[in-house]
Symmetry: C2
Subunit: 243 residues, 2 copies
DNA sequence: GAATGCCCTTCTGTATACAACGCCGCGTGC
DNA sequence: GCACGCGGCGTTGTATACAGAAGGGCATTC
C-alpha cells in the first residue's frame, strides 16, 4: 500500500500550495496570479481556486474580493497570538494527557523521543518535524481529537518561524522535552504543565522579539535553503563540548 | 453605509450554506447534490463548491473524494471534544482578560450583560446569540485575535447544541455570567477561571450525556422551529418566582 | 510640470460543457 | 439460488469560455 492511487487533482494541488504557503515560497502581500499558478501546477484555475479557498479558511492564505489571493503575512502580533494560543492548547493537552494517557502511549512517546536523540546529519526541517511530532503526540495522548486538529493548524502557520528558531536552539530543546516527558511519565500534571509553559514561553519571547525588531525579513527569498542544510552537531552531549 | 454593496456571489452562497450547516438544515450523512443545491441558491456549481471547500476547512462540512460533500455529524465524542476545547480556550481567555482588559472594555462588557438581563419575548436563537456574544467579548478582552477566531469556529460547530441546551437552561446562565463578570471586574484571575470552568463544565456534562444516551435525534427535522419561538420568562427575578 | 481622466490590458468571478468515476439494477452463468 | 459482471444513469471532477472589474499607462488639460 504505497498510497491511495486515486488522488484527485485538487488534493495534490492543495498539498503543494499548502507547502508553498507554509514556507513562504508564496510571498506575503504579493498577489497570486491564478493563471500562472495553475499553469505551474499543471492544472486549471478551478481546482486551484478550490484549494486556495481551503487555505483561506485555514488562515494560510488571505483573500480580498476582486483582488484575489495572497499569502498571509507574519507580523509580530500574529506570531505572539499564535504562540500564546499554542501554549494554552499544549499546556491543556499535557495536563489532560497526565490523567488519560495509557501506559503504552507514554512508552511509545518515550521511544519516539529516544529515537530523536541524535540529530547528526539531520536538516532543520527534519529536526523541527520531530519536535512538532513530539508535541502533537502529547496532544494525541490527551484523547481530544479536536485539540490535535487545532494545534496542527497552528503549527502550519508558525512552522516557518520554528525553522528559523530551530537553527539556533536545537540543543536546548531536547532537555526541555525530557523534562516534560519525565513529568508526564510520573503523571505529575502541574509539573508537566509548568514545564510545557516554560518551554513554549521561552521560545515565544525570543521569536516575537526577533520579529518585532525589524527582523521581518523572516521571509526573504533564498532563506528556505538553509532549512535543508544538515546540522553539524551530534548527540545531546554536544552541548557540553561546545560549552 | 448599509453594507458593502459589492458582494461576490460566493460570499452570499458561503453565508447561506454556513447557516444551513450550523442549524443542520443540511442533514448529516446525507450527500449534498451539487446541482440541486446550486439551483436552490440561484448560482452555479463553481461558487458553490468554493464555499463548500471553505466549510470543509472549518469543520462544518465533510468531504469524501468521488462522493461529494455532506454535513458533519455530531456524535458524543465530537461534542465532548469541542466543549472541552472550548473550556480550555475560554478559561485561558478570561484569565488573560483579567490581566489585560482596559477599564473601558470591562465597563462595556458589563453594559452588554446588563442589556441582556431581560429575555422576555426573545427567541432561543436570540438568547443564545447573546450568550455567545458575551463569551466572545471576553475572548476579545484577552487581546488575542487568534483565540477569538478559533473560539468562533468552535461556536459555529456547537451552536445547534447550545440552542437545545438553552431551551431549558436559560435561567441559570445569567447568574453564572454575573459571577464571571464580577471576578473579571475585580481582576481576580483564579476566581474568573474557576467560574468559567464551572460554567462550561456543567453544560458539557449535561449536553454530552444527552447526546450519548441516544438522544441523537438532536438533528430531527422540524426541531429548528422551536428555536424561533419566544421564551415565556421575564427578568432574572423570574427564577425566584419559580422557586 | 503636475494632476486627472480615459482607455486598454490583465486578471478575477461565474457559468457551462464535457469527461470520468461511482452507484445501482439487471442479466447471465455457475 | 447466489454471485459476479456489465451497462446505463447520475453525479462529481476539471477545463474552458466569457463577462465584469481593477489597475496601469498615456494623453490631455489646467
Amino acid at each position: 500500500m504505497e498510497e491511495a492511487r486515486e488522488e484527485p487533482r485538487v488534493e495534490a494541488v492543495y498539498r503543494q500550495l499548502k507547502a508553498m504557503a507554509v514556507d513562504f515560497r508564496l510571498r506575503p502581500g504579493e498577489r497570486l496570479n491564478e493563471g500562472a499558478l495553475a499553469r505551474d501546477l499543471g492544472t486549471s484555475r478551478t481546482p486551484l481556486r478550490e484549494a486556495l479557498n481551503r487555505l483561506v479558511a485555514e488562515g494560510l492564505v488571505t483573500f480580498r474580493p476582486g483582488r484575489g489571493f495572497c499569502c498571509r503575512s507574519l507580523d509580530a502580533e500574529s506570531v505572539f497570538d499564535l504562540y500564546e494560543l499554542r501554549a494554552v492548547l499544549e499546556c491543556a493537552a499535557v495536563g489532560l494527557a497526565c490523567a488519560r494517557a495509557g501506559d503504552d502511549g507514554i512508552a511509545g512517546l518515550e521511544a519516539t523521543l529516544a529515537a530523536q536523540a541524535d540529530y547528526a546529519g539531520k536538516t532543520v526541517r527534519e529536526v523541527t518535524a520531530g519536535d512538532e511530532a513530539f508535541h502533537i503526540a502529547i496532544a494525541g495522548l490527551s484523547g481530544n481529537g479536536e485539540l490535535v486538529r487545532q494545534l496542527q493548524g497552528i503549527n502550519e502557520r508558525i512552522r516557518y518561524i520554528r525553522w528559523i528558531d530551530m537553527q539556533t536552539r536545537v540543543r536546548t530543546t531536547k532537555g526541555e522535552h525530557r523534562a516534560i516527558m519525565a513529568a508526564l511519565a510520573a503523571r505529575d500534571a502541574p509539573a508537566a504543565v509548568a514545564a510545557m509553559q516554560g518551554h513554549i514561553a521561552k521560545r515565544m519571547d525570543q521569536v516575537v522579539a526577533a520579529v518585532r525588531e525589524g527582523y521581518s525579513s523572516i521571509y526573504v527569498p533564498g532563506h528556505a535553503v538553509l532549512f535543508d542544510r544538515p546540522l553539524a552537531g551530534g548527540s545531546d552531549d554536544a552541548q557540553s563540548r561546545h560549552g
